[in-house]
C-alpha cells in the first residue's frame, strides 16, 4: 500500500490555559490515503478545527506523531513547512479570506507568488484554475463584486492552483445557502474524482458530508466514529 497523505498517531493538543488546561485533541489516530474525500463532523468544540490546523502545519501538536506524505512533520523547520504548504497543500476557509480590493485572478495567484512561480506562468495557471471553478468571466472582478458562492469558488481555485496533493476545508459551506453549497460541494467532488486531489473537509451539515466518501466524527477531542460511506453518516 502507498504511503498515506496524512498519518497521525496518538495526536494530542492541549492548550495550557491558566485555570485548567484545555484538551482540544485527546489522542487521535487517523490515516488519510491519497485520493480520499474525508468529511470531519462533530459537535462544536470537539476539536475539528484544531485537528485541521495541525494537519495543515498551522499549529503543532503537544504530543503524538504526524507524518505528511511519509515525512515526520515535527522534525521539519517552519520554513520547510511553509514550502510544503505552498506546494502540497490548499486551504479553504468558511470566511473565504480573499484579499480585499484585489481581483479574483490576483487572489488565485497568491500561493504561486510564495512558491516562486514566474509571472507569465502564474497568470496562466490562475486563469486555468478560475476556469476550472467556472469563474472565467469573473477573473477580473474584486471580492466585493462577487457573490458568497463565487468568492468561495475563487478561494477553491486559489487552493488548487499549485496542484496540491491535499485540500483542507474548514466549513467551506458554512456561510452559503443550499444552492451555493451544492455548487461548491459538486466542485470538491469533481476535483477529488477527476484530479485525484485528496480532500479533508470539516462540516456540521450531513447534506454536505454526504458528498464525501468517508466520514470521521469527533467528540471531545477523540474520534467517535470513522465510517466509509456517506449514507451511514446521513442516517446517523
Amino acid at each position: 500500500m502507498a504511503t498515506p497523505v496524512v498519518a497521525v498517531r496518538d495526536l494530542r493538543r492541549i492548550y495550557p490555559l491558566a485555570g485548567e488546561p484545555v484538551v482540544a485533541l485527546a489522542g487521535i489516530d487517523l490515516d488519510i490515503e491519497a485520493g480520499e474525500f474525508v468529511a470531519v463532523m462533530g459537535p462544536s468544540g470537539s476539536g475539528k478545527s484544531t485537528f485541521m490546523h495541525i494537519v495543515g502545519f498551522l499549529d503543532r501538536p503537544t504530543s503524538g506523531t504526524y507524518r505528511f506524505e511519509g515525512r515526520d512533520v515535527t522534525e521539519l523547520s517552519e520554513d520547510d513547512l511553509a514550502g510544503i504548504r505552498s506546494r502540497r497543500l490548499g486551504f479553504v476557509f468558511q470566511a473565504y479570506n480573499l484579499l480585499p480590493r484585489t481581483t479574483a485572478v490576483e487572489n488565485v495567484e497568491l500561493p504561486m507568488l510564495y512558491a516562486g512561480v514566474g509571472e507569465a506562468e502564474r497568470r496562466t495557471a490562475a486563469l486555468a484554475a478560475l476556469d476550472e471553478v467556472g469563474l472565467s468571466k469573473q477573473a477580473f472582478h474584486r471580492p466585493n463584486q462577487l457573490s458568497g458562492g463565487q468568492q468561495q469558488r475563487v478561494a477553491i481555485a486559489r487552493s488548487l492552483v499549485n496542484n496540491p496533493s491535499l485540500i483542507l476545508a474548514d466549513e467551506p459551506t458554512g456561510a452559503l445557502d443550499t444552492r451555493a453549497s451544492e455548487d461548491v460541494m459538486a466542485l470538491f467532488e469533481r476535483l477529488n474524482h477527476e484530479r485525484g486531489i485528496t480532500i479533508m473537509l470539516v462540516t456540521h451539515e450531513p447534506d454536505v458530508a454526504a458528498h464525501a466518501k468517508r466520514i470521521v466524527t469527533f467528540r471531545d477531542g477523540i474520534i467517535l466514529s470513522d465510517a466509509p460511506r456517506a449514507r451511514e453518516a446521513v442516517t446517523q
Binding site: 490546523h53 495543515g56 498551522l58 499549529d59 517552519e78 520554513d79 511553509a82 514550502g83 504548504r85 505552498s86 506546494r87 497543500l89 486551504f91 476557509f93 479570506n97 484579499l99 480585499p100 480590493r101 484585489t102 490576483e106 497568491l110 500561493p111 507568488l113 510564495y114 512558491a115 516562486g116 486559489r158 499549485n162
Partner: protein, 410 residues
C-alpha cells in the same frame, strides 16, 4: 537583528500590491516623511544660499582687502586711545606699498558734509582716496574717468560721484560729467560716476558717497595730514595673512612701538569677517537642520504608527498569506519593504516640494537658489533608513503573528 535572504522582485511586487490597495492610507503615511525631507532640503538650501550671499557681500567690499585703522581696537570693536586716532600717515601708506604681496594701497580721508550742485544740495560722505581705490574695492565706473596719480600730486579739484549722490544732485537723468559741484564752497569738477554697489552688509548705502583725491581732501577739506583709514590689497587671497603680519611689524617699527606694548593701529581682515559671518550662518543652519531632523524623525514615527495599525488591520491577510505558504521571513520582508517604499517615495516627494520651496524662498530673499545634489541624495537615503528603522518593529510583529489567531481575527 538578523535579516533573512530577500527575494526582491516578488517581495517588491507583494509590497507594492499591498500599498496600491490602500492608496490613500499610503499617501497619508508618507506625509510625515514628505514634510520632514522638504524641511531638510529647504534648510540646506537656505543655509547654502545665505552663505553664498554673505560671501558675495563680503567679496563686494573689496578684493583680498585689509582695513587699517588708527588707534587700537579692543575686542568689542570700540576704539580706544584718543591720541591714537591720528597715527596713520601718508608716509606709512607709501612704506606699506613697498611690501611684497601688496597689490595696492589707498588711504581714505572721510568728511561728512553738504554738497551743492546748482539748485540741489545733498548731505553725503566725501572720501579722499587714491586712484587704486576702485581696484581695491572692485568698484567699476559707470561713466567718465577716475582721477589719476597726476591729479593726486596736483591736489586737483576733481570728483567721482556715487549713484545716490548723482541722482540727488542731478535729478532727471542730467549728465553730471564736466559739471561743477561745491564741497564746503570749494568747486570740484565731476569727471566720472561709479556703478551702483548697493547696501553694505551692515545696511549702509555704499552709493551715497563722493570720491576725490586724498591729497585734495587733506589740503582743501580737513586741513590735516593724518588719515581716517587705509585700505591694503594683497596680491592673492592666500597672502592676506602674510601681508597682515608684515604690515603690522612694519608699522610697529615705524611707530616705535616696543614689543608687548599695545599697537596704535589695528588691522581688520575681511577674511576674518567673512569667516565669522559664515560661522554664524553655519550655526543657524545646524539649528535649522536639527529642527528638520526632528521633523523627519516624527515622520518616521508616523510611519511606524501607521504600519502598526496596518499590521493589526491586516491580521487576517497575514494569516492567509502564511496559510498559502508565505514564510515568516516573506511576511517580514513584505512589511519592511512597504515601509521603506513609503518612506523613500515620501523622501523623493519631499525633495521635490523642498526644491520648489527653496526656489520660492531664494527668489523672495534674492539669494541664489542652491540645492546641493549631495543633500538630495542624503535626504532620500536617510528617509529610506527611517523606513528600515521604523518599519522593522511592525514588520517583525507581523511576521510573528500566530496564523490561527490571525485567521480567526475579526
Amino acid at each position: 537583528m538578523r535579516l533573512p535572504p530577500l527575494k526582491l522582485p516578488s517581495t517588491l511586487r507583494i509590497a507594492l500590491g499591498a500599498l496600491a490597495r490602500n492608496r490613500s492610507r499610503s499617501l497619508l503615511t508618507m506625509l510625515g516623511v514628505v514634510i520632514g525631507v522638504a524641511a531638510v532640503i529647504i534648510t540646506v538650501a537656505i543655509g547654502a544660499g545665505a552663505r553664498t550671499s554673505v560671501a558675495s557681500q563680503i567679496n563686494g567690499l573689496g578684493s583680498n582687502m585689509l582695513i587699517l585703522l588708527p588707534g587700537s581696537v579692543n575686542l568689542g570693536g570700540s576704539r580706544t586711545g584718543t591720541g591714537g586716532a591720528s597715527t596713520l600717515t601718508i608716509a606709512d601708506g607709501l612704506a606699506i606699498a613697498q611690501l611684497p604681496h601688496v597689490a595696492a594701497v589707498s588711504p581714505t580721508v572721510t568728511v561728512r558734509t553738504q554738497v551743492v550742485a546748482g539748485n540741489n544740495n545733498w548731505q553725503t560722505t566725501i572720501s579722499g582716496v587714491a586712484p587704486s581705490y576702485t581696484f581695491i574695492r572692485n568698484w567699476p565706473l559707470a561713466s567718465g574717468t577716475f582721477f589719476s596719480q597726476h591729479d593726486v600730486d596736483a591736489t586737483a579739484k576733481v570728483a567721482v560721484l556715487g549713484q545716490t549722490v548723482e541722482t540727488n544732485l542731478f535729478p532727471g537723468g542730467a549728465d553730471p560729467i564736466g559739471r561743477t559741484i561745491l564741497i564746503r564752497n570749494v568747486p570740484f569738477v565731476v569727471t566720472g560716476t561709479l556703478s551702483a554697489k548697493g547696501q553694505s552688509s551692515v545696511g549702509q548705502d555704499q552709493d551715497d558717497t563722493i570720491l576725490i583725491p586724498f591729497s585734495s581732501a587733506l589740503e582743501r577739506l580737513t586741513g590735516q595730514t593724518t588719515l581716517a583709514s587705509m585700505l591694503v590689497s594683497a596680491d592673492d587671497s592666500s597672502n592676506i595673512a602674510q601681508v597682515q603680519s608684515e604690515v603690522t611689524s612694519l608699522l610697529e617699527q615705524r611707530h616705535h612701538i616696543v614689543a608687548g606694548a599695545p599697537d596704535d593701529f589695528s588691522i581688520r581682515n575681511l577674511q576674518d569677517i567673512a569667516n565669522a559671518a559664515s560661522a554664524t550662518a553655519s550655526v543657524m543652519q545646524l539649528l535649522l537642520a536639527g529642527v528638520a531632523a526632528v521633523s523627519l524623525l516624527v515622520g518616521g514615527i508616523g510611519i511606524m504608527n501607521i504600519m502598526l495599525v496596518s499590521v493589526t488591520e491586516r491580521t487576517r491577510e497575514i494569516g492567509l498569506r502564511v496559510a498559502v505558504g508565505a514564510r515568516r521571513t516573506a511576511i517580514l520582508w513584505q512589511f519592511l519593504v512597504e515601509a521603506v517604499v513609503l518612506s523613500t517615495l515620501g523622501g523623493a516627494a519631499g525633495v521635490i516640494f523642498g526644491g520648489v520651496g527653496s526656489v520660492a524662498i531664494a527668489t523672495l530673499a534674492k539669494w541664489p537658489a542652491t540645492v546641493p545634489p549631495s543633500a538630495v541624495v542624503l535626504a532620500v537615503a536617510f528617509s529610506a533608513l527611517v523606513g528600515v528603522f521604523f518599519g522593522y518593529y511592525p514588520a517583525a510583529k507581523a511576521s510573528r503573528l500566530d496564523p490561527i489567531v490571525a485567521l480567526r481575527f475579526e
